[in-house]
Amino acid sequence: MDHIDIKDLLWMYRAMKKSRYFEERIEKAYLEGKQPIFNIGAGAIPGEMHLSNGQEPSAAGIIVHLTNNDTVTATHRPHHEAIAKGVDLKKMAAEIYGKKTGLSKGKGGHMHLFDPNVKFSCGGIVGAGIPHAVGAALANKKKETTDIAVAFIGEGAANSGAFHESLNLAALWNLPFILVVEDNSWGISVAQKASTSIPSNDLRASSYGIKGYLVNDNDPIEMYKVSKEAVARARKGKGPSIIEIKTYRFLGHFQGDPELYRNKEEVPSLRAKDPINRLKEYLLKEDLSTTEEIKTLENEIYTEVDSAFEFAIQSEYPKPEEALEDVFY
């Protein structure tokens, strides 16, 4: 078990499972008030909802190597990274419910989660978070810390101009920066092959003279290993990397997606390889954990997530006129 810390794997399992359970609750809550007729603007949680079920390894596998002082920027599909990064779960749930107690007092919503305490942010514009992380990495370098910055994007975003400009800058200035590309095969309804002229984005590392890594088949342990190296290199001033992980999108692009563009068999076959189950089986098979221990851990998760939802549901809405605050002229 070369270079793998058991504690890390358990940490990953916890992060992945927490994200999954959190999203399972969101999935249900999102439909409240949207039935029998689905109306995106109705219910307890209105607006778009992008869930990451299946994509947990990419977040957990690298964030396990990070500290609170490392920066993470994420996308419109941010929950798995937010949770792994340690974003305040109660405030995050409250934000998604549009409550005053939310991370942003209800102004942000699920696509715009900001927790400066753990240096996490995300946003709704594809590709736009990459330069933000590059800027954080630049600040880290200027301050001569060993902190790093990691940007997460989807494979679709890797064809945006921001990808190229950011990577060139990060490489040119030799910044402690890592780009994680989650290739979940789809950018909404557009298949990877229909958006990207090459099979994977680690190959694009050579355009910047940096390191490229590929993790196949959504493998949490491979993601862990590869990330460990990339993070160590970044911390040591050895420059940026791209890590692409081939991951799975269990659900539609957003909740309510009719998914007419993909084969009906795709999801069941992905679900059969659920990375959370795979990690659990690995932990048990290799005697790194016990059914007991995992049960306990899972129960802790359920309690924590449930109480975050409880907090969110019980919290008050902002006053309408608070809409005018937080822009300063």
Binding site: G47, E48, S104, A194, Y261, Y317, E322, L324
Partner: protein
């Protein structure tokens, strides 16, 4: 335009768009559509549903998330004689491609002294009201209206959507065609009456530079566009009960603005209220108020009134979003204040 009853069907905004695209693509092989998820998905806001099956991937082209790439490519394709229709999924994303839109698509016809024509239609979805927050809820009418070289239209009703889209496609100039999500009549959003309306089956065009008086009245002129037109009409109904007879103008065209229709109305009513879902400063309420204050000044019996989304990003939480986007009540109260003192 001669139409007999049996040729007119009730369509949603989305269906009206698709019918316009379909009829024009059928007529003219040089038209093609590029955009994210316009293919099998049929457009996130239902702008192209069914067209992929009919016209195939060569003419209904899904693109990577490379707005500068594919919207910029429309320039080269148009210069070669094709007629590209490109979709920017949400108007909120314009910032990643604004250079191509305003420095190239808008200016090349002029910078070439008229020698290069760019018959490009840029479709884009606008509007809030369903808690999609700061980066997916804007209308940005004035962001486009301010910049020279673009025709910018924002029709409200299905009939106008079809006629103005056909006109836009046939126009040899670049046109920004904004469609409002809530007016598309999509099954998974708010259902409102205005999103369904009679649309002639034959092809027809509606000019890209004419406002439309959608309700005549004599006491006050209310100008709106898209959802604000809808709300102004509702407000006008409520005002009738109070004995106030409001005239409602659906702007339809953001650039150029049909001054004449507005000025004529204010000449009659002496009072102007402008309602805008876009931000307050430097927006539609500013432009129309200024037009009237300079060219219709002597007809004004009262100060012009501006109702618009205040100068803050659109908040996520429903209570706050409702507060910032102008509503029927805001219009009714304003007009009441103006007339009943």
């Amino acid at each position: 335009m001669e139409t007999t009853k049996d040729k007119i069907k009730k369509l949603t905004g989305s269906k009206a768009m698709i019918q316009a695209l379909d009829q024009e693509m059928d007529r003219d092989d040089s038209i093609f559509v590029m955009g994210e998820d316009v293919g099998k998905y049929g457009g996130i806001f239902g702008s192209t549903t069914g067209l992929f099956d009919k016209y195939g991937g060569e003419r209904i082209m899904d693109t990577p998330i490379s707005e500068t790439g594919f919207i910029g490519a429309a320039v080269g394709a148009a210069a070669e004689g094709l007629r590209p229709i490109v979709e920017l999924m949400f108007v909120d994303f314009h910032g990643v491609v604004m250079d191509q839109i305003y420095n190239h698509i808008a200016k090349i016809p002029y910078m070439s002294g008229g020698n290069v024509k760019l018959p490009i239609v840029l479709l884009t979805a606008v509007g809030g009201g369903y808690s999609d927050a700061a980066q997916h809820s804007q209308t940005l009418y004035a962001s486009f209206g301010h910049l020279p070289g673009l025709k910018v239209v924002a029709p409200t009703f299905p009939n106008d959507i079809k006629g103005m889209l056909i006109a836009a496609i046939r126009d040899d100039n670049p046109v920004i065609f904004m469609f409002h999500k809530t007016l598309q009549g999509l099954g998974w959003m708010d259902q409102i009456d205005a999103s369904l309306g009679p649309v002639p089956e034959e092809t027809y065009t509606i000019p890209l530079n004419k406002a439309n008086v959608v309700k005549t009245g004599k006491d006050v002129t209310i100008v709106g566009v898209q959802m604000m037109t809808v709300k102004a009409l509702e407000a006008a109904k409520e005002l009738t009960d109070l004995g106030i007879d409001a005239e409602v103008i659906d702007l339809r065209s953001i650039k150029p603005i049909d001054k004449e229709t507005i000025l004529k109305s204010v000449e009659k009513t002496g009072r102007l209220v402008v309602v805008d879902e876009d931000y307050y400063s430097y927006g539609i309420t500013a432009e129309i108020s200024a037009i009237v204050a300079s060219e219709g000044f002597h007809h004004l019996k009262a100060p012009v009134v501006r109702i618009a989304t205040p100068d803050v990003p659109i908040p996520y939480s429903r209570v706050m979003e409702k507060f910032v986007i102008p509503d029927v009540k805001d219009i009714v109260d304003t007009v009441k204040n103006m007339l009943i003192v």
